[in-house]
Symmetry: C2
Subunit: 113 residues, 2 copies
DNA sequence: TAAATATTAAACTAAATGGTTAATTAACCT
DNA sequence: AGGTTAATTAACCATTTAGTTTAATATTTA
């Protein structure tokens, strides 16, 4: 299946290096070298991670002399957050109902059925 | 790198079939066959998706005769949501600051620098 | 023009993913 | 015991992923 935006976003988030890069970019633009600094892996490896983030549209890259500064793109991340938030509500509803049931059971054990 | 919980969670979410399964499970427990029904793929394929969800601890499986009902496990999903929410705040802060700056620039163009 | 810096491309490898079909296990029902 | 239903395992395949090292490209600076 050709992956949709949401799948690409979650796949991009499924790697600690890429999440750290996004966290850094939340502080503002940075060059590839700056982004690579905290990691032990090679520069091409970081470059590949950036390409993954770019293909998933989580970052955009500018150009300034020999640097290619990266900038966060918030929208797809917001969509992923929304998806999770939406289902969070459903799960919590379910747990609320379960809580209600357990509470009712305590107060009125005969209502069980 | 051996993947952490958060990476496993996002990786599990990076597939539309698995997200649909989670959405279904938000409505309540279901058997493998029930979960497989909406999809065109084979049962073993769905079984594998469930194994991915189980390994990522997004679901737990019970046992009842020949059925193995699946149930949603909310906690890791909540952690993923929290991660995104946390950074959502940072991004939005940044955009707020940018808005402020652009607004100030309009009102007082000489403040640029 | 030549050297240095920043970044990507190429070629390779090992492991993981997502799917298939066929066979197997486990529990139920006659 | 034998058949049916539910689900997993096994064996296989193609593609993707995450990393490596080496080489190439682009831009600034001396």
């Amino acid at each position: 299946m050709l992956p949709d935006q949401l799948s690409n976003t979650f796949a991009a988030l499924a790697d600690p290096t890429r999440r750290a890069i996004l966290a850094r970019l939340a502080m503002g633009e940075a060059s590839v070298k700056e982004l690579a600094a905290p990691f032990e892996m090679s520069l091409p490896a970081v470059s590949k991670h950036l390409k993954v983030l770019e293909r998933a549209r989580l970052i955009v890259r500018g150009r300034s002399a020999q640097w290619r500064p990266c900038r966060l793109e918030a929208k797809p991340l917001a969509e992923a957050t929304d998806w999770l938030e939406h289902y969070r509500l459903l799960w919590e509803q379910r747990f609320d109902r379960l809580d209600d049931y357990l509470l009712e059971l305590q107060n009125n054990p005969e209502s069980r059925g």
